[in-house]
Subunit: 174 residues, 2 copies
């Protein structure tokens, strides 16, 4: 039976994506829901998700809330239907840009703040105190600031032109 193959592919992909998610501080259910929506041709209801992933209603609801907060899942109203449907960004590049933007906001920006604050604090000490520590923190800060700037520039480019750009840079095949 052919659809058995499709089902096993879906399952395998969803499970793997779930594992990857947990390696990255995104919980398993969130990542699984995302995987499921990503390969679904049509938006799915919370109920359908529940059934597919064999998880509870509450869990689905919470995970969807989080995914929506990340901006990678959106609610879809079907006219004349009471129940809500959910779908995820289907363009891979757009999707990863959204994730990158969110992680930058949540992780990189606060780190830059902490580093700035601490570097400033060390600058109030006599110039021969804590020299090494100050240097190290300054290097780290510079690294994050550069990364942040590069990211902002990249984000300004359209995904396609970005690809082309990289292609030119490295002349990689295909």
């Amino acid at each position: 039976m052919v659809t058995n193959d499709l089902e096993s592919v879906k399952e395998n992909f969803i499970l793997h994506w779930g594992e990857m998610g947990s390696l990255w501080g995104i919980n398993r259910t969130m990542a699984q829901i995302h995987a499921l929506l990503f390969i679904s041709p049509e938006p799915l209801s919370a109920n359908a998700i529940m059934d597919e992933l064999k998880t509870s209603r509450g869990n689905v609801s919470m995970a969807l809330r989080e995914l929506i907060a990340w901006g990678i899942v959106s609610r879809v109203h079907k006219k004349g239907e009471r129940r809500e449907y959910y779908s995820t960004e289907k363009e891979v590049w757009v999707l990863f840009r959204m994730i990158a933007r969110e992680r930058k906001k949540r992780e990189v920006d606060p780190t830059i703040e902490v580093l700035r604050h601490n570097v400033a604090k060390l600058h109030t000490l006599p110039p021969t105190e804590a020299v090494y520590e100050r240097e190290q923190l300054e290097n780290l800060l510079e690294f994050f600031e550069t990364g942040s700037k590069v990211y902002e520039e990249l984000e300004a480019q359209a995904p396609t032109s970005l690809l082309k750009l990289l292609g030119q840079m490295f002349r990689f095949r295909s």
Copy 2:
């Protein structure tokens, strides 16, 4: 008292780095030890780490083992000394390259494998079956393969030339 300032900076930095670590699937202790070694002018003994972080001997030992497996911490022998010292890569760019390499190996490469396998499996179905699913998985696979290639090219560049390159690309200031 001036060193109070230094101590509070160290603590603040170590705690923040620990939090960041856990957002990324690296455990808190590992990230804290890394932070501590990163700003320490000299290699530290397991004992010193234990005292600074107020954690147990066993925990320090396990975390160090992991950090060494990641390649970002190394044992340092001091001649004529019985106890071992530990130190981390101090060059920020080198450090992040090591981390990137390891994450690629642990996360990206296996994901590519899974995607390839599943795409191949879907190709055994009649061409009109599972069209959408196949397309989506192919797009994702292409994305990861491109990323992987770009990463390999970047890794081949020396960190400095990379910076210059990016500078040219975007003409960003400083």
